[in-house]
């Protein structure tokens, strides 16, 4: 097999020197690939935070303060998991409605996803407030610093996702499913699902591992 380009043929019948049409680039695919690459980049932020978590979760980093077992309850964490994954599922329904060109239904599901996501933020806030009140603010020890940092970093990502959802509700209402709105909805899907994916690791390696 000759790999195209490894061997340069001389010009002959059928050799084309200029592209006939101005090569149509698929704008939506290009933009979605760009956003996907950005999400991969974001995953390295969490990788670095998990690496820091691994280093700072030895007993020397507890400084006699709360341990992983004290600050992260597996059961409460599972409830949070259910809530977040439900929001993710609701966002999946937005994409289904988009596919069937039903803007109103899409707005409805988008709001459902938003409200459940906001509820998740509420649960997380409640949980962190309890940790702080029980003597575990981030300033208490190296371990608590990284614990708060991982959970809050994930939460801040969610907050930006919620803001983005509101923007998209307005844009669907104003423009319907134009090309711009469609690719943004698809990108927001990647963003929101990705937050669910990261939570899988937060739950496993922060909540569950602490109670082993």
């Amino acid at each position: 097999m000759i790999v195209a380009g490894l061997h340069d043929d001389p010009p002959g019948p059928g050799t084309v020197l200029w592209a006939d049409i101005d090569h149509e680039h698929d704008m939506m695919s290009t933009r979605m690939l760009g956003f996907w690459l950005y999400m991969l980049s974001d995953s390295l932020i969490f990788a670095a935070l998990f690496a820091a978590y691994a280093v700072l979760s030895y007993p020397t980093s507890f400084m006699g303060g709360p341990t992983p077992r004290d600050v992260a309850s597996p059961l409460y964490g599972y409830a949070e998991t259910v809530v977040l994954f439900t929001s993710v599922f609701a966002y999946g329904m937005v994409m289904v409605k988009l596919r069937h060109d039903l803007p109103r239904a899409a707005i409805g599901w988008l709001l459902v996803s938003f409200l459940i996501g906001a509820f998740f933020i509420g649960m997380e806030t409640h949980e962190l407030r309890d940790v702080a009140l029980a003597g575990g603010p981030p300033q208490r020890s190296g371990f608590l610093s990284i614990f708060w940092c991982v959970v809050v970093a994930h939460g801040v990502h969610l907050l930006f996702g919620l803001l983005w959802m509101l923007v998209m509700v307005a844009q669907i209402a104003r423009d319907g499913f134009t090309q711009l709105v469609t690719y943004r909805l698809a990108n927001l899907k990647v963003y929101w699902l990705y937050q669910g994916l990261i939570w899988t690791f937060v739950y496993t390696f922060v909540y569950l591992r602490g109670s082993i």
Binding site: A47, C149, Q171
Partner: protein, 693 residues
Amino acid sequence: MTEVQQHWDPIFGRLTLSQVPYDNLIVCFAFFFAATLGLVILGALTYYRKWGYFWREWLTTIDHKRIGIMYAVVGTVMLFRGFVDAIMMRTQQVMAAGPASPGYLGAEHGYLPPYHYDQIYGSHGTIMLIFAATPLLAGFMNFLVPLQIGARDMAFPYINALAFWLTAVGAALTMLSLFVGDFSHAGWVGLAPLTELPYSPDVGVDYWSWAIQIGSVGTTLGAVNIITTIIKMRAPGMTWMRLPLFTWTSLTTNVIGLTAFPVLGVAIGLLSLDRYFDTHFYTTGMGGNFMLYTDLFWIWGHPEVYFIILPSWGIMSEIIPTFSQKKLFGYPVMVAATLSIGCISWTVWLHHFFTMGAGPIVNGFYSVATMLVAIPTGVKVFDWALTMVRGRVTFPTPMLWAVSAIFMQIIGGWTGMMLAIPAINYMTHNGVFVIAHFHCVVMVTVFAVIGGTTFWFPKVFGFTLHETSGKWVFWLLVGGTFIVFTAMFILGLTGMPRRLAYVPYASWWPILAIEELGVFVDIAALGAFIYQMWVSIRDRELNKAGRDPWGTSRSLEWMTHSPVPAYNFAVIPHVNARDEWAWRRDYRLHHVMPNEFKDIELPVNTPVPMFIGICSAAFGFAMIWRIWWLAIVSLVAMIAIVCLRSFGGSTGTTIPADEVRRLERLAARPSMRSRPETAIPEGVVVLGGGDAR
């Protein structure tokens, strides 16, 4: 929020008039220099009534070529600043060798007090790597990649402009630290726990961290852009195995940029949390671990080395075949070597802190991984050499730079292999042997960048650089560099530690004096460079360049006019060969012009990226000086601008086909038009099956 020990008020944060170091003679001199230069530029813009032009064509542009040029301008300014830092450090050391050395300007030895000297080496490293090399290479990649793959623009022209402005803001914050407050005294690597608030209570570390944070967001966005462009925007026929090598190295380098810079963001972000919120990531007590900082920093830091070196190798791989009049030897192997270096760069970072004491197994792993880098690098060196073998080699300035860069690469690589051995590394750790080693490596980048500038200058500006003075720059800079670093290697083997404001042994003075001599030669090179620029610009009408001023160049960018029109290619070329332009020349197709033009759609300019840049500058400044209200306002403004912009539609402008035809006629040189029409081989399709004329 952590309470700072010094003065703070709710309106101005920590900012007071006493933070302006007007009592420091050196800083005052720098200020007057910068202010005069700034006033001259502003005055010239006003006098020649160029403000409108400047706004329309530069500040608001989203044209990848203009952005590339602006990147290069920022990089060059910062390169100059970093060079001045280097001169000051060399001069301090030669003046402060031995207990008998006198002191001036308030210093006990030499002319710089230790705290000032420490800031200079911190800013020298930060500037050279992050705000000089990175923007210069980003400039090359921005300008060249779309041209080399036959695209009209980047995949995301708007993001491209945003990335540039964020990088520029990072550089601007670094410069500002000279005149308001101070810069980090903890080295460009930010040695933890020295960077923690109790040991660095001033704003220096904050300047360093926010400048890097904002600049590296720009680098990450730029990486997204260039990777997507290369994957999605290639011209028809531009298969992966036909991609010019510079494009391959740009791709690899930006994969590193995409994946490594977030880790730097985390490393420095956690430090900022320590400084602002009193957390304990890197503190020595309370369960923090400062080696964690070193670890995270070098997870980024080592790939960053390859981020800087890979595009330089790409530049060399373009220059050497052009002036050997031969295709690049071993192209597929070169591609494989580039990609494998990108991969290995992720597995070697512990060699920056072998002395942490992780033990023989861990050190052994990283030692072997580091040595593996030598294999693909060696392959590259042999490929360049074999490209020249039996070629028709000529030595104009770009080729001189490229060949000397190979020598520099060999020296830097050899000493790197020595340092990869933990037993040797324990001896040389924190010594100037390491400094000499990595300066040899980054000098490869400097040589390649200057060579590349000479090579592509006619493509960018439409006229060639003055050749004779270019050779003067070459011999002076290469000579000076070899003098400085040969001496530094000797000092390194003698055991001299790095970052010394005062050199305790008078016996080291003669070698330090040789280094100083080399620095003088380098300064002469800078003078020759300024002369070269002046002569070249003066004689620009005499040295006008056609499409292909070198006559032997090989890739697509040489097919279009010099300077390149806004739409890059009047008609997108269909690629038939790896070195398309050389292929067309070899088969006498290079005078064949497209016979049919179509409307061209281009994105319109927008000032939004600049506005976001200004907001990010305000945000950075506010965080540095702890002006909380301004930080909140500028952050909200940034988010609001991004949201509001998304409500606008996508905007483009169309250049009609007739206008393209007119511009093409205008750009074609008379000599080219008067040339007898070349016979087109039977059956070759010029455009859409149309007639050749």
